[in-house]
Symmetry: C2
Subunit: 211 residues, 2 copies
Amino acid sequence: MIDLAILGLLREQDLHGYELKKRLGELLGGRSISFGSLYPALARLEKGGLLAAVDAASDPGAPGPSGHAHVPSSGSLKGELAAFRAARHALRRGNRGKKVYSLTSRGMDRLHELLNDPTPTDDRTFALRVAFCGHLPPAARLDLFERRRAQLHIRLAEQRQAGQHNDSNDNGRDHRRDRYLRSLREHDTQTIEHDLAWLDRLIAGERQAAQ
Amino acid sequence: MIDLAILGLLREQDLHGYELKKRLGELLGGRSISFGSLYPALARLEKGGLLAAVDAASDPGAPGPSGHAHVPSSGSLKGELAAFRAARHALRRGNRGKKVYSLTSRGMDRLHELLNDPTPTDDRTFALRVAFCGHLPPAARLDLFERRRAQLHIRLAEQRQAGQHNDSNDNGRDHRRDRYLRSLREHDTQTIEHDLAWLDRLIAGERQAAQ
DNA sequence: GTCATCATGTAAGCCGTTACATGATTGC
DNA sequence: GCAATCATGTAACGGCTTACATGATGAC
């Protein structure tokens, strides 16, 4: 999930981690991922050759690179550590704290792999796929939508079936008690139907565009 | 989350783990929890005194207890193990594989604690709370609904705000590309509004019942 | 010069999953 | 007797969170 999010966002534009997190928060409606999960993921993807740290391009943040790493070489342990870090930073980055990532061609391949993966996924992942599916060939996009539709149809059937065998012992007082349970189920059903209607609209749009 | 689910379901009726999982699956619409998570949770709750294993009551499954553990005492390691297990089973359970749990008074307290906890939670947990809120005093129930409503209002505001600064560089081709992103956001917004409308209905019902 | 924000990372731990292992019950 | 299902558990691992630690930049 996190890989899909990162690769998808970087496809549009080179970004550093902090900015990436903000964008992702907007994409998923507030509930973003945490730094503790984002930065290790970025490191992993970079190590795997799917991302590359680039010399801060014009787009994200301040433009002027002026990288010169003069190391004062103090005696303290802390000083040594800081110097080491500064040197490492100077090697890898343009000028300052930011580390801007760019999608490599392998990363692009991986993104398409993740978008086309036919195994059913959770709601969040599907949302991400929709967000990034504009880059997909129309046929793959249609597939994505239809797979999701099938999945939701199954869910809906299960939901209805579960609603069937409602309390055989229907003795008065009980009637009022699980009123909330029934309301919940009804609402869930409607939510799925709402999702299905949306998917149908998307699919109709695709078919229309195909002509 | 899993604690809430277990305690809430056991409040209605004594159940064994396997049955519990099935009910939970119905409650959450298909996507149940796994055994690998359920059984350890049951063990933990039993150890904590929130649940107690009872001698299979009349309700869940076959009624007749006839527990007699005659141990053949074979020489093999496997045999010893089996015998040990059988003995352990005989001590703890009525007659067969099933281990039926019952909610203790401490478990009941914990359930109310979980239902009344005012910290905002994820959607799944809220669904569970609604499913079990029939046991709550009306005021607590109303509180639950209104806290959720406030939470959703915030989400909705964030959503709208995120939708504001849409691509300042609105140059033609771009227009068509993130059509899917916009559709997704619109759908998300509608979903939240749908949830809010439901909550409003629930709250109205509570106020009406309060009179 | 200090405070808020930007920015990157590490460590510990929680919560859940899949895969594995075992055995009882029931229907044919 | 054999298979499907019911039933309970353990072990390994994955992904994400919180809390912690560090430092740069900019505004006042």
